[in-house]
Symmetry: C2
Subunit: 376 residues, 2 copies
Amino acid sequence: MSFIAQPRTLVLPKPLHLRSGSTLSGVRLAYEMYGELNADRSNAVLVCHALNASHHVAGRYEHDPNNLGWWDNLIGPGKAVDTNRFCVIGVNNVGSCFGSYGPQDINPQTGEPWGGDFPVVTVEDWVDAQAALLDELGIQQLAAVMGGSLGGMQALSWTLQYPERVRHAAVIASAPNLTAENIAFNEVARRAITTDPDFHAGHYARHGVLPKRGLRIARMIGHITYLSDDVMNEKFGRLLHERTDFQYTTQDIEFQIESYLRYQGNKFSEYFDANTYLLITRALDYFDPARAHGGQLAKALAVAQAHFLVVSFTTDWRFAPSRSREIVKALLDNGAPVSYAEIDAPHGHDAFLLNDPRYHALVRAYFDGIALRAKP
Amino acid sequence: MSFIAQPRTLVLPKPLHLRSGSTLSGVRLAYEMYGELNADRSNAVLVCHALNASHHVAGRYEHDPNNLGWWDNLIGPGKAVDTNRFCVIGVNNVGSCFGSYGPQDINPQTGEPWGGDFPVVTVEDWVDAQAALLDELGIQQLAAVMGGSLGGMQALSWTLQYPERVRHAAVIASAPNLTAENIAFNEVARRAITTDPDFHAGHYARHGVLPKRGLRIARMIGHITYLSDDVMNEKFGRLLHERTDFQYTTQDIEFQIESYLRYQGNKFSEYFDANTYLLITRALDYFDPARAHGGQLAKALAVAQAHFLVVSFTTDWRFAPSRSREIVKALLDNGAPVSYAEIDAPHGHDAFLLNDPRYHALVRAYFDGIALRAKP
């Protein structure tokens, strides 16, 4: 039984200037904090979330005890990231549908929900918003910033946008940018949503509908890329769904993997917002710190002052170990302190969310080291 | 400039009994033949097609000279499969939309197009139909049967269903069955089609519409799986479409890979039939000769009498080399004659359609050997 988490919100006092050129005012951020800030406010750990996650990183809610934080297996009292030592902060990103300012909020220009008109947000914009939140919380420097996947991109970007505010960065199952194939999968998912007749250019709320068909397809595609071929074969293989022989049908479920994907797609379409899906996949597409440096990642990372922990998983084909090694190489080229682990795990990209003993022991050892080390 | 191909059709005199239990009567097959049958009719080579291909395997059409057969780079006078020596036959599979009997034909029970009621067809059914065509052409034994991908499954199945009618089988970029991940990609594509509001349970013709949205998504997903990550990075990388800087949009094209996929999706939706897409992906899902033998592929292949050429491509992640090696191992376990080549090619699954010199030299050498060998 995990501890009780308390969601909070805060409205940023200053406008948020986005990379797209747009400016958002009255930006509301949903966040949670676990553990106590120490006297010199030097023990804060910011956890950045990936696609469909939120500020609910660990613990459970008093009135919804089954709603465990998405990284509860890693973070909490006595856990690898020990909230008896660290004050862990989870922030929901701008553009999300889980409490922070997003497409479901009112566009002050029109008095109607933003919908498809919500401006594009980038990883850098999210980091700016997180930094503004830390300003309000009186936290000048993070003991660590950490995240997996898209969250790892935010952790990496923190070390470049606010190098003096980050002592350690844990970049897990991530990449310095998306490959063409990554973008391609995102694009197919987006097209499934935007060509759903119920999408209405993102203004489905006005029409009293939801583009659930598109969201289902998007989620099914996503799920395939989160899992490894191996784990899919082990979990589902060619097993039939509720029968022992073929029924010969093109439209009904025949294999268990089909049933699983349809279930995941249906569930997702009930709680996730289509405009948020577009915004978050685009933030992934755009992230590319080397771009402003002629594609030279080492140049881009030269400003970083943090110590790095980079972790990848052998069967992750969405963000393959080779992509993590690009980050490690660029850091080493700069003489930056970096620990790298490639965890031999069968679970594909999803491995970063799972309770793999070697992975968790590694994160624990790294965070023990942070706690033992004095503030520089 | 390639030779002129002449499409023909033939209606099978006997009904076709399908694995699903259904029976089709008056089955029309579209086919093409290149080269001359020799006196003892022992030089026929049957070429089986994959997903969106047809009986138009090689040559060009007199009145449509740009419409080259899909394997024209491999098959023709003086080519690797030399039509000066072999009589090559291409057959369009039952259920297709390119001339053979399919969902667009009239269901005799209703007097209307079959549409979504067309019975499920399997690889084994296709092979039966091809065998019935050969009966009509007076060809008792094939010098070789060959195919890539789904076509390779048909070639393999020929050696099991009609072992005495096949001297050689070339099984290229194929697999003994689909993995869970393969089925998953097929299922997402099918769901995109069947949840398109214009699909109408496959009876879109009655409604005067076409489920093009779904077909576009299906084709985009397919395209991603045909190409390797490497070739996508090389061809498209993170290049922007017609600009040098981000325009920050979720719904418009930003990257070249997006433009490419949308183009491919649009093109496909203009010429391919949605019901055919469902049928063909299901035939892929169902193929599994080891299933009737407790999953033991060697047992399933024990009846084969052919000599085998098995070819895979290193970067093919749809039908990975390991899947071809399963076939090779099962054949070797049976002491069957098999040559295996793993071609180091960057192009992913699509490599089997491309003009790779080592691959083509290998096929040429194998078919030279067939021509030199006397009929056993």
